[in-house]
């Protein structure tokens, strides 16, 4: 019998093992829902699977009266657009600032403490100021995502840049690289897959801020819909939306992972940075 630490399940048992917790979760929900519905058939908190399915069909097939579009797709489109913009801009800022802070000691001395302090300010608490500065349109939603995740990405990337073996930076200098070339040809390409890691880690937070932003000012979007129906405790709408958001988040994460695998085989081949 191999040590537990050396036991690797085959592909079939891997799949079975991976499914197990989901099946258990579904069962627990079913039991809890049944119990509540048995007590009060009008209970809205944990709707039955049939109700959920009906509601899902309705959300994905009946067009909205206001715009003629199907609600779920319309909301998804709006939310994904905002998310992509927010995360994209955050990643760009994160890459630039992270590399600058990590690579250049002068910039690090000047801005690392500031970024560290900024990253600790809870964005929710300064919302009014943010909205005044950025208005309440599409911009403000994207900005909230940016404010929410950029400090993390910046600090993470700064850390990763500083973790690059010092030898590589010296080696580049002995090959005649100036500071700009070191950043361009040594640091940047090694840091991009790490940026993808950082983005993947911060996607959850990005969704959180997106949903919060949409709850404050929006007329469409997944977070807006949840906010709208929450006051009626319409869990038959909220739960499918939550599942859908989770699926979207999962797909985004998966996609990023695959892109990283394809584009940076050297990073995923063995351990990073060696």
């Amino acid at each position: 019998m191999k040590r537990l630490i050396n036991q690797r399940p085959g592909p079939v048992s891997t799949a079975a093992l991976a499914l197990l917790p989901f099946v258990v979760l579904a069962l627990v929900y079913l039991l809890a829902s049944d119990a509540r519905l048995a007590e009060n058939p009008n209970d809205k908190l944990l709707p039955s699977f049939t109700t959920l399915a009906e509601s899902f069909v309705r959300l994905t097939s009946v067009p909205s009266q206001r715009t003629g579009e199907i609600l779920l797709w319309q909301d998804t489109g709006a939310s994904l657009r905002r998310l992509a913009q927010g995360v994209g801009i955050s990643a760009a800022i994160g890459l630039i600032l992270g590399v600058a802070l990590g690579a250049i000691p002068l910039i690090r001395s000047g801005f690392a403490p500031f970024v560290a302090v900024l990253s600790l300010i809870p964005p929710m608490a300064v919302l009014p100021v943010l909205f005044i500065v950025f208005g309440l349109g599409e911009v403000s939603k994207v900005v909230l995502i940016i404010v929410g995740i950029t400090p993390f990405i910046v600090r993470d990337l700064q850390q990763r840049v500083q973790e690059l073996p010092r030898e590589l930076i010296i080696k580049a200098q002995t090959l005649g690289a100036n500071s700009w070339q070191i950043v361009l040809r040594v640091i940047l390409p090694q840091v991009v897959p790490r940026l993808i890691d950082a983005v993947r880690l911060s996607l959850g937070t990005a969704w959180l801020f997106l949903i919060s932003a949409e709850a404050i000012a929006a007329t469409e979007g997944l977070g807006y819909r949840i906010f709208l129906v929450r006051r009626y405790l319409a869990m038959d709408v909220i739960l499918p939306y939550v599942v859908w958001i989770t699926i979207l988040a999962y797909l985004t994460d998966f996609l990023l992972k695959q892109i990283s695998r394809r584009a940076f085989p050297w990073y995923h081949n063995g351990e990073p940075g060696r």
């Binding site: 580049a172 002995t174 690289a177 050297w266 060696r274």
Partner: protein
């Protein structure tokens, strides 16, 4: 003739640990210094001083009569014990990098004909170190020895004036090692290189160098082993060393 390198009473300490002490050394252009010494005595530290990566705690180092630049530059090539190659570049890309950096200060990349020429140069160098078959591989796909050969090719293709080698052949098998010896000696001769090479193989040191530097503690306090640093205990112009000295050096390595 101005010495290429001159150490003037150099001390190097980390905190309260003295690593090198009272180092005086003059090296003429074109010398091939091999450096041996007990493990942990400060050989790598010496190379880091020469690189400009570390500054002496006391004393100063002169390069061609001028104070040594306080940072690494293309005049001093290096092969480290490890982390000497760029993991994100293919074997070819690693060697090409220096050529590209030199020719393209802003983009750091070459295109078209210039790239083809650089590529040819890089491939020739890679074939010289026996990696002509692995141009497209990434360092993680190479064995330790192959990585060292790649690092060597990467430095040599830049024709530095001073070449610093930190046990570059430690992980190579004898056959390849012999080829590398020839390669380094040829490039040393052709380019009037000044070489500092750390090695653990004292025979290699004798075979390659024109001058052998042996590092060891000059004084020793058993109660405070950190209190004193190492210095040069033997400085042998090779060829002039009589067999007795060689035997003494070989024995002296054992403390």
């Amino acid at each position: 003739m101005t010495p290429r390198i001159r150490f003037e009473n150099v001390w190097m300490t980390y905190g309260d640990q003295v690593v090198l002490e009272r180092l005086n050394l003059t090296v003429a252009p074109g010398e091939f210094c091999t450096i041996v010494g007990a493990s942990g005595c400060g050989k790598t530290t010496l190379l880091r001083l020469l690189l400009g990566e570390e500054t002496p705690s006391r004393g100063r180092i002169l390069l061609d009569g001028e104070p040594l630049p306080a940072e690494p530059g293309p005049d001093r090539g290096i092969v480290f014990q490890r982390y000497s190659v760029f993991p994100h570049l293919s074997v070819l890309g690693n060697v090409l990098l220096g050529l590209e950096l030199r020719a393209a200060p802003v983009t750091g990349r070459l295109f078209g004909g210039a790239r083809r020429n650089a590529r040819d140069e890089a491939v020739a160098m890679l074939e010289a170190v026996g990696l002509g078959q692995s141009l497209g591989k990434y360092p993680t796909q190479l064995s330790g020895g192959m990585q060292q050969r790649l690092a060597l090719a990467q430095s040599l293709v830049m024709h530095p004036r001073i070449l610093l080698l930190d046990e570059p052949f430690g992980a190579l098998d004898p056959g390849i090692r012999r080829d590398m010896h020839e390669l380094v000696l040829r490039l040393w001769r052709e380019n009037n290189l000044t070489v500092f090479m750390v090695t653990h193989d004292i025979r290699e040191g004798f075979y390659l160098g024109t001058r052998l530097l042996v590092f060891d503690k000059l004084r020793y306090d058993p109660d405070a082993p950190q209190a004193y640093g190492a210095g040069i205990t033997y400085d042998l112009p090779i060829g002039q060393a009589d067999p007795g000295t060689l035997a003494e050096v070989l024995a002296g390595g054992k403390r």
